[in-house]
Symmetry: C2
Subunit: 196 residues, 2 copies
Amino acid sequence: MIKYPNGQKFIFTQKAHKKSAQDISFSSANRGISLEEDINLSNEYYLGAGALLITKRPTPIHVSKVDYSHGAKIVNAFFEKQSTTDYNGVYKSRYFDFEAKSTQLKTSFPLNNIYLHQINHLENVIAHGGIGFFIVEFSSLNEVFVIDAQTVIAAFHHGDRKSIPYAVFKENGVLVPLGFNPILDYLTAIKTLFNL
Amino acid sequence: MIKYPNGQKFIFTQKAHKKSAQDISFSSANRGISLEEDINLSNEYYLGAGALLITKRPTPIHVSKVDYSHGAKIVNAFFEKQSTTDYNGVYKSRYFDFEAKSTQLKTSFPLNNIYLHQINHLENVIAHGGIGFFIVEFSSLNEVFVIDAQTVIAAFHHGDRKSIPYAVFKENGVLVPLGFNPILDYLTAIKTLFNL
């Protein structure tokens, strides 16, 4: 019998593979989208509880052609890279801005899916007194950390470093409590990280 | 000879009508897009000057079908309404959130293109200590005002009022200085409006 370390049934795995042929949300981006869903649900909880207001920026799409024969139907367009970060909002009048990323690695967080314009944006956020951070999931470890954007910015600009060691998250980040409501209590972790 | 009250030449009107069949950015949304361009350019100026950091949320698009035969080409999608506002950002660590609207009317600002979910969002912004406002252009008068979101929220919830009189902007809003750099110096007006 084949062992599935995460306890998934085979039928689920089959469905997942079938889905991956049609849907880009599966494959390597799958963990990231799960993290995103967890964050979105946590944000809904925070909003309802009056604790925190965070909104997610829509994915930018470049529209090349629109067919107006039946309403406005977009018939040619493509996804663009987010020029800033995915999330921002307000906590007790303070501006929050963050990016969420997931890795399956256990020993480091690779920086190759963070872009220079996102780093520049977070540098501007900090310069204007905003609170910039990353939510980073080590999916194989089932651990989620918050870490000051300045730590990621410094690593990004460090010429010969392509990743941030897991140990840096243990030392400089704060572990996010996992639960039901909210699923990811990252606000509690942020309050600890930034002494809010 | 036919008189055009706005002084447009006929050739321009022809081109405009031709364009309007292909491009929804013309027609009634035209003035709003000019205001949007002016705000975007002003935001670039503010960013370069280190005065203010504002980002515009991308227009949300619902993607129904993607063709993966040559990369990821979106072949069926449609525009969605922005569920929040168009702009937010940070000024001296304070959270800013605003919507920009333009009207060709001279005596009032109609509320029919402001949506309940935008009002709810701005109510949340204020509840969390953020600074919420509208930038409203009276295009026929070449005047642009900033006005506290609470004024618009109150009018929106006022059962029998479908618009805000121009006089309210004169009394409770602040006129935005128009210039070259920035084109719309709305930050100066906001500092006056909110005593920042």
